[in-house]
């Protein structure tokens, strides 16, 4: 039961709202009463040292992790909870499945299905989750794979694709479900430097999309600065500082932000 949390956020709600969200692993508090709003079509990058809870934010939103306290809202509706008798109770699986369709995720290690071709990976969920016809799923998947520059690789299995190509398939696969929100979890961290550009180019091309809200955890500071509407700097389970890219990178107010940025930018 949740008191003091609204059952929904009304019509002008942000696309995502974290409201006093707390996440603990045993004794360790990973996120401490986090408040974060992401507006529709906004691109928000989350940066910060490892262990600061930034990946956990994405995983909670994807409902891969349960939260210990607070409420997450998506598109005005509660995600982690559901209304019953004018109160919010913990969401059941049916509610989660309904809400989860709003959200897609691209993983650090791609997580493609190894026994399916690039095309098969993209067609899987539209056909077997949305119930789309094979013809329609095929057309959509071909379009998306062409958009990510893999028109000539659609019949290849993941094992025959490079890391950059696999990650582009993974982006097409997530897009095939047309989520309202797309999460990128360190999507270039497992890639060789020479193929990072091709993946970033695909994400860049999505940035102009009018029906996609993006939330990304990244170590690519230059890219984050270029593409984001807003940067959140996480430190020890809290947002230590947030603001427009220019402000964060050129004129950080928080001492931790300054230290982190100088360490990261020196290393590059």
């Amino acid at each position: 039961m949740k008191e003091n949390f609204p059952l929904n956020l009304g019509s002008d709600a942000p696309m995502v709202r974290f409201s006093k969200v707390t996440k603990c692993y045993g004794e360790l508090t990973v996120l401490d009463s986090l408040d974060l709003d992401v507006q529709q079509n906004e691109i928000v990058s989350i940066i910060g040292p490892s262990g600061s809870g930034k990946t956990t934010v994405l995983r909670m939103l994807m409902t891969l992790e349960e939260i210990n306290d607070g409420v997450i809202y998506v598109d005005g509706q509660p995600l982690t909870h559901m209304p019953k008798n004018n109160e919010l109770i913990k969401a059941n699986e049916a509610h989660l499945r309904k809400m989860r369709n709003n959200i897609g995720m691209v993983f650090q290690h791609f997580n493609l299905f190894p026994h399916m071709t690039a095309l098969g990976n993209c067609m899987e969920a539209p056909m077997h989750v949305l119930g789309m016809s094979r013809t329609e799923a095929l057309a959509r998947s071909e379009e998306l794979l062409e958009m990510v520059g893999l028109a000539d690789k659609i019949h290849e299995h993941p094992a025959r694709l490079s890391g950059g190509q696999q990650q582009r398939v993974a982006i097409a696969r997530a897009l095939a479900m047309r989520p309202k929100i797309l999460l990128f979890d360190e999507v270039t961290s497992a890639l060789d430097p020479e193929v990072i550009g091709e993946v970033l180019n695909v994400i860049r091309s999505l940035a102009s999309e009018h029906s996609l809200t993006m939330l990304m955890v990244t170590h690519q500071m230059g890219f984050a600065r270029e593409i984001s509407d807003r940067i959140c700097f996480f430190y020890e389970g809290k947002i230590a500082e947030e603001g427009a890219p220019q402000q964060i990178f050129e004129n950080p107010q928080n001492e931790r932000t300054r230290q982190f940025l100088s360490a990261v930018l020196d290393a590059n």
């Binding site: 369709n101 993983f107 997580n111 299905f113 190894p114 071709t117 077997h128 989750v129 299995h157 696969r173």
Partner: protein, 222 residues
């Protein structure tokens, strides 16, 4: 050599009959074992304690007690409780239930060995439990569990020799009978030994390897 040929001439037919019964026992027991293994292996991973507990009790019981005792129970004791099997059925049921318990652990282990990222990808694509298992997890788990299943099926084939003790007329039963009338122990049990070996090494092992290659190709393994 001459002597052995004469022996085979006289008793070869009975060895063939026995071998056919052993093959039937093996096939039926294998089907049962696979079914039982899939069922209890997946139940073993349920988050509902009652389902998981049932599976654990089953696996522990059948792995923890002797196959021969289980066979005797099914054939001699269950009738006292009102459940009667003919000896042929009792034979493959006992072997199938016993080896199925080992198979259940293979199923469980291989499902757990499918990388965590695969579950997360299914989750992110909003696949239901059933779709996720059938379309993504089990096909990959099957590839992982095929090599140990090859061993298990050989164990199962050899395990069927025990059904001779409830007088199912399998290969072992015929060998004992022939030995009893001829006292030619080396020939009788030697022939049985060779036939069991050939069935295991010439039929089961290559068959499983061929299936592994086929499935590996289907799974995009290069």
């Amino acid at each position: 050599m001459q002597h052995y040929l004469e022996y085979l001439q006289a008793y070869g037919g009975r060895f063939v009959d026995g071998t056919l019964v052993t093959i039937q026992q093996t096939l039926l027991a294998a089907l049962l074992a696979i079914f039982v293994a899939a069922l209890f292996g997946m139940m073993r991973l349920s988050e509902k304690w009652l389902i998981r507990g049932t599976s654990i009790v089953y696996i522990e019981f059948f792995r923890g007690t002797s196959l021969l005792v289980q066979l005797y129970w099914i054939f001699f004791v269950l009738p006292l409780l009102g459940v009667t099997f003919d000896k042929f059925t009792a034979g493959f049921v006992a072997v199938g239930l016993n080896l199925g318990a080992y198979g259940a652990e293979l199923v469980r282990g291989s499902i757990e060995a499918v990388p965590k990222g695969q579950y997360e990808a299914c989750h992110a694509l909003n696949m239901s439990y059933y779709k996720r298992m059938r379309r993504i997890i089990l096909p990959q788990a099957l590839l992982l569990m095929l090599p140990p299943w090859g061993n298990l099926l050989i164990e199962l084939l050899k395990g069927t020799a025990l059904v001779s003790l409830i007088s199912v007329t399998d290969l072992m039963f015929e060998a004992k009978q022939i030995n009893g009338t001829t006292y030619l122990s080396a020939e009788s049990f030697g022939t049985a030994l060779i036939i069991y070996y050939l069935m295991a090494r010439v039929v089961v092992s290559p068959g499983m390897r061929a299936f592994e290659r086929y499935w590996g190709k289907k799974m995009g393994r290069i």
